[in-house]
């Protein structure tokens, strides 16, 4: 009886595997065939396990209102600090907290951390597990900047936004790429909307897989966008330039207000915290 049962099970599993494989083969629209490489060599990870402090071998800070004192080029309203109340590690999580307070001429404080000069890499899988705040004016992001922005002025140095989110659209995130000919408001970008769920009530994994000729964007296990060299040309009438073949560094921040989200309103709740469970980077 046992062996008969086992045989039936094996048959069933075999059959379902065949069906599954068939489905996998046929469900891809050949015109939109997306390239997916496997990046399974973990080369960087921060699980945020050191209580009370960021790993200084991995992270540094952007402070203030930006080099032009103009809200980081976006008229953002916050002043970035490295104070514990704006950025710390607790219970295995990175906490970036935006507060409403008068500080050095700004009405809000927050934090922006980066791996510039500490961890930079071209290509690979970059992912983070994050829960975001909600409310008008919140603009948290998990993104990459090219490590040559000092020499090759942005957007020539390239920007890959793995996750951008606006607090007044709690079910939506954006994945984007910026380069010469497709920057700021004209970036190549796509939104992803969660069904029957939202980004401020639980953690989601925001992933990006980057190879020499494409960038794939994921929310959890859903691939929702692929940007290729060909896309860049098509989207920019041949003007755009692929600038994603050199090392980039990681940025995590919570911006408040500015051109994209607009200012907080009276219902926006402060303080609120972006909670990051981990950041991991893989190579081939």
């Amino acid at each position: 009886m046992d062996s008969i049962f086992r045989k039936i099970m094996i048959k069933l599993i075999g059959k379902s595997l065949v069906v599954l494989t068939f489905l996998m083969l046929t469900s891809c629209d050949p015109n939109e065939a997306q390239r997916v490489a496997s990046f399974d060599n973990l080369v960087m990870q921060d699980e945020f396990d050191i209580e009370g402090t960021l790993d200084s071998n991995l992270w540094t800070f952007d402070l203030g209102k930006g080099p032009g004192n103009d809200g980081w080029g976006n008229n953002e309203l916050q002043y970035y600090t490295d104070r514990t109340e704006n950025v710390t590690v607790e219970n295995g999580y990175l906490l970036i907290t935006a507060k409403e307070e008068a500080f050095n001429g700004a009405n809000y404080t927050s934090a922006r951390i980066k791996t510039e000069g500490l961890f930079e890499q071209a290509y690979g899988r970059f992912e983070a597990r994050i829960k975001v705040p909600y409310g008008k004016g919140y603009w948290p992001a998990f993104w990459l900047l090219g490590n040559d922005c000092g020499q090759n002025i942005w957007p020539q140095c390239g920007e890959i936004d793995i996750m951008e989110y606006l607090g007044n659209m709690p079910t939506t995130v954006f994945g984007s790429a910026h380069g010469p000919g497709y920057a700021a408001g004209d970036a190549i970008s796509k939104k992803y909307v969660l069904e029957n769920d939202r980004f401020d009530t639980g953690f989601h994994v925001f992933g990006m897989e980057w190879a020499p000729d494409y960038i794939n964007y994921y929310v959890d296990d859903v691939l929702y966008q692929q940007i290729t060299k060909q896309n860049v040309l098509e989207e920019t009438n041949g003007e755009g330039q692929w600038v994603f073949d050199h090392p980039f560094y990681i940025i995590l921040n919570v911006a408040i207000g500015g051109n994209l989200p607009g200012s907080p309103n009276t219902e926006t709740v402060f303080p609120q915290t972006m909670i990051v469970d981990y950041v991991r980077v893989y190579q081939k």
Binding site: K136, T171, R198, D200
Partner: protein, 473 residues
């Protein structure tokens, strides 16, 4: 097979008995028994009413102006399917009634709505009118889980509306499937048509960030005494919905869990009624699903309040405003909500004796619903109780004149137009005892007291009033 069964059964039952003895100390439900639950049907109206009572629409009382004629099903208009609910909102002078509203009720024993997080529907209007109320949980019996979303703005095209459920775990057997009330306040009296379709309870998964509120979010401090009771009002629940908007609904007290910090001073029941049971201070707070509500009530009781002196005048000599010994000549508004007023006023009843408790008063008034003709009367009696030293209260007895309106100079606070008053201020009141005053109807109202309309109260700030009446000795 069949005749072997009894032995088999006997052996098995013995084993089960032993097993039962070994594994369980108390009797649990056996596995094949199912706790009785009510159907969890979410649809209320799609193309037809879904499992609602035969009359489908149960109107508010026509005697109170509700129009029962304007409700029906429209087979020519639908958001989805073939038909929708059509509501013709009447003009205020419509002989069939000046507004329209009522409820839909489940036809059987009620529904289990614990798996849903919102009632949703699609609606449009012939005008971009504002509908006063939509909601659910009202069954015209005890309305225990009533929820109301006020003032929704219609579009002339279909738009989806979401009414979040404050705390779905409470809705094990709900009969009130929908409530609406619509008038023409927003359209200057112009009637309009409102269509509703695809009315159903849904599990959206995007109803988040709950923010419950009691007492309109205020932290109130109130003096009281043993035997009194206070109702917790101003109850709302706010959620952020998928559109990013915060939606606030009025929520019945039974959605909340109320807590008293000291039940030897005050207890609070599921209807939000605080009962003061002893002396001391207790803080009343509330939660919904473990989320603390904004707002609280700190109630301080100094024990039992002694009764005010019982009036002895025959009722024929008296025109009463607030007194348990006489029939009051008029009802009154004790919370007129004057602009700039900081006053909290509460009618508190213990042992069949009602008193008026004023807290944090700067100025307020007792506004008579009907004027009092005191032409044949010469005094106003009032008993005043203070629990702190240095309390003085000013009484301004106001005749509001033939126009029936309080006319006050907003700069001086003095009566103007056809109004007149007499003002009397108590000296420092005796603490923890009743102070009785018999104030003559003199000064500005000596010869004009046939339209007494209000008693304005200034100062205090904390005092208790009882036995307010006009009389002739």
């Amino acid at each position: 097979m069949k005749n072997r069964k009894p032995t088999y059964f006997k052996d098995l039952s013995l084993i089960f008995l032993i097993l039962g003895l070994i594994v369980s100390c108390e009797r649990d439900l056996s596995e094949d028994s199912v706790v009785a639950t009510f159907p969890n049907t979410g649809e209320v109206f799609t193309d037809n009413p879904i499992n609602l009572t035969d009359e489908f629409f149960i109107s508010f009382d026509p005697a109170q102006g509700a129009n029962t004629e304007g409700f029906g099903i429209d087979n020519n208009v639908a958001y989805a399917g073939t038909s929708s609910i059509r509501i013709d909102v009447p003009a205020p002078n419509d002989p069939n009634g000046s507004y329209i509203g009522g409820i839909f009720k489940d036809r059987s024993g009620g529904r289990n709505l614990t798996g849903y997080d919102a009632l949703t529907f699609w609606a449009k209007g012939s005008l971009t009118a504002t509908v006063g109320l939509v909601g659910f949980g009202t069954d015209f019996v005890d309305d225990k889980y009533a929820v109301g979303l006020e003032n929704i703005q219609l579009s002339t095209d279909w738009r989806k509306y979401t009414i979040p459920i404050p705390n779905a775990s409470r809705l094990l057997q709900e009969k009130g499937m929908f409530i609406f009330s619509a008038g023409t306040q927003s359209t200057n009296g112009l009637g309009y048509t409102l269509w509703i379709d695809e009315l159903k309870f849904e599990t959206l998964g995007t109803i988040a960030q709950p923010h419950p509120v009691i007492l309109d979010g205020e932290d109130l401090v109130q003096q009281s005494f043993t035997g009194s009771s206070i109702r917790i009002s101003g109850l709302t629940q706010t959620f952020n919905i998928a559109s990013g908007e915060n939606v606030t609904v009025q929520a019945a007290p039974s959605y909340f869990d109320f807590v008293s910090s000291d039940t030897s001073v005050a207890t609070v029941n599921e209807l939000g009624i605080v009962s003061v049971v002893g002396s001391g201070t207790a803080l009343i707070t509330a939660t919904i699903s473990s989320v603390l509500a904004s707002g609280s009530l700190e109630v301080t009781s100094t024990g039992a309040l002694p009764a005010a002196p019982i009036p002895t005048l025959p009722s024929s000599n008296v025109t009463s405003i607030f007194c348990d010994e006489y029939t009051n000549a008029t009802s009154s508004n004790f919370e007129p909500g004057f602009g700039g007023s900081t006053t909290q006023a509460a009618v508190v009843t213990a042992n069949n004796d009602s008193v008026l408790i004023y807290s944090n008063n700067n100025f307020t008034g007792i506004i008579f619903d009907n004027t009092v003709d005191a032409s044949a009367l010469s005094f106003m009696h009032v008993d005043v109780y203070a629990q702190q030293a240095g309390v003085q209260v000013e009484f301004q007895i106001r005749d509001i004149g033939a126009n029936g309106v309080i006319n006050t100079n907003i700069f001086t606070g003095q009566p103007e137009g056809d109004d007149a008053d007499y003002r009397f201020t108590t000296g420092n009141l005796t603490v923890n005892g009743w102070n009785s005053f018999d104030i003559p109807l003199t000064g500005g109202i000596l010869n004009q007291k046939n339209n007494l309309g209000a008693i304005i109260l200034a100062g205090g700030p904390n005092f208790i009033l009882d036995n307010i009446y006009f009389y002739t000795p």
